[in-house]
């Protein structure tokens, strides 16, 4: 037994072949039987490293993801939308908090993660580097970006790491509100006046390409991917996830009489696979590397938030405080 002050050993770049074979076998058997790994369990260094990176990026995507929709927080039309968009953006911050907490159990502090985010060392989802020009952009984000995220998160909730799965179970329940709220907001526009329809069509035109980017480029099968799938860190290929998203949401977009800006879009009824035009993977790479429309602003905002609250952190930190890694 140990107190909560327990700290993990530093992440060393242990190669898989250097891990203790007996411990590794027990670990893999546990996962193969559908068991979960908990923070106190032995785990290979590679597992810890990959999970930390994945959960951390997910958390960054939530905290930065609050900004595009946040653009319309002060301008939501009417009480019903005004409260809902606040609750929706609030949830994004809540999800970031839950995910950072899960990542902390793997031994990286929240401060270190935030530093890596704002200095660009650690990535977040590309899609949040695009601008929200109108209220309709906020509606499209709430519906379709969250729909895409749910496809990922529902799969990852079945992954092998206990704290991440528990956080995702909680998050998925909240995401179902986002999805319904977003759909509701889009439907009101799409079935409204010509002006409203035009707003939402233009927003969809802007977001479709980033949505295709969302799941990442087609997978290259590698030994590395195979291990991560065996360890239930990665729960599906990029293409599988994207196809699932299209299968669920393309018909729902079409039934509103909206056009999807892709002339090659179509489903092969035999294979169940959707085809789509090349969404410009070069642009995807440029945005990942910092050259998207709003990368600089997104990070500048997060930096400003941290800078502006520095005085509070210093004022309330009690001198005898000691950081303690969360237990679960």
């Amino acid at each position: 037994m140990y107190g909560g002050g327990n700290t993990f050993e530093k992440i060393t770049a242990t190669k898989l072949e250097d891990e203790d074979p007996i411990l590794l076998q027990e670990f893999e058997e546990k996962i193969a039987k559908g068991g979960k790994i908990e923070p106190q369990d032995w785990m290979p260094a590679l597992y810890r490293k990959q999970l930390t990176r994945m959960i951390e990026q997910h958390a960054h995507s939530e905290i930065i993801g609050a900004l595009p929709e946040g653009t319309w927080i002060t301008r939501a039309p009417g009480f019903r939308r005004k409260r809902a968009i606040l609750a929706k953006v609030q949830d994004e911050i809540g999800h970031a908090q839950l995910l950072y907490s899960a990542a902390e159990t793997l031994g990286k502090t929240r401060e270190a993660m935030i530093n890596d985010l704002v200095t660009g060392k650690s990535k977040y989802s590309n899609i949040f580097n695009y601008p929200a020009y109108t209220w309709a952009d906020a509606a499209v984000i709430a519906w379709l970006v969250d729909a895409a995220a749910i496809v990922n998160q529902t799969a990852n909730a079945k992954g092998s790491y206990g704290p991440y799965s528990r956080a995702l179970d909680r998050i998925c329940i909240e995401e179902s509100f986002h999805l319904k709220y977003g759909h509701d907001a889009v439907v009101y526009l799409a079935t409204g006046t010509d002006m409203q329809r035009q707003m939402v069509q233009e927003a969809l035109n802007r977001w479709w390409k980033p949505l295709m980017h969302f799941f990442g480029p087609p997978d290259k099968q590698s030994k590395h991917t195979e291990i991560l799938m065996r360890w239930k860190v990665k729960m599906g290929t990029n293409d599988e996830m994207r196809n699932q998203f299209m299968d669920m949401y393309v018909p729902k977009i079409w039934e509103l009489g909206l056009d999807i800006p892709d002339a090659e879009l179509g489903k092969d009824e035999e294979t169940g696979i959707w085809s789509f035009a090349d969404p410009d993977w070069e642009e995807f790479k440029r945005v990942i590397n910092g050259d998207g429309p709003l990368n600089k602003e997104r990070l500048a905002v997060r930096k400003a938030v941290e800078n502006n609250s520095e005085w509070i952190r210093k004022a309330i930190l009690s001198p005898e405080s000691k950081y303690v890694v969360p237990l679960a």
């Binding site: 009417g78 409260r83 953006v89 905002v301």
Partner: protein, 248 residues
Amino acid sequence: MEALKELLFKMADDSLVIGHRMGEWTGIAPMMEEDLAFSSIAQDKLGHANTLYDMLHELGEADADTLGFLRSANEFRNCQFVELPIGDYDFSLVRHFLFDNAEFIRYKHLANSSHEPLAKFARKVIGEVRYHVMHGNAWMKKLGNSHTAEGLERMQQQLNFAFPYALGVFEHSPSENEIKDQGYFVGEDTVKEEWMNTIKSVIAETKLTLPENAEPVTGGRKHEHTEHLSTMLEEMSVTLRLDPSVEW
């Protein structure tokens, strides 16, 4: 009836404006946990405003969205305190502490209002407002006992700046006497007296001091506002005004 409407309007307008202001922090507040808490309080305030406008609608006024989003600034009866911009987080916290303690006392008394829908709402909402006060008081005590000189200076400065505006919350409405006589509400003087006691007792647990001989900043209850209110309302209603006749 006009007196009752006056009471409902000033409360609804206060709630909408403070709710909007607090909501401006969502996603960009200090500390994720605090971001969440402050956003919830903002959402609660908007809910209060919506309910109070609905009560006015029952009394023959326009619907809540029209009342909240489409009136001009000179029709609003909120106190000037709530319309001031959010400033740094120190100001927003001090305002939250001062304003919400008044709200809590107000709703406690409104539980006995002769206007039954209002009394019923007050009895239900009191627990929620109690949380707002617990949150505000906890932060005031924390930052009022800052471990740094900067923390203490900032809080004292904001308290000095905010306090005269806070006194303006209790400005009498034109129909103050009738509001009391009809039993709608116990009146601003009673609330103010109890509020002073609470504020003094919380501040006594900090290293801060309340400014002496502060003169209330008034006008809001008589439709006089700073330029901040019209700027805020313009921004808030920009989407709805694209076409106020349709559903969004």
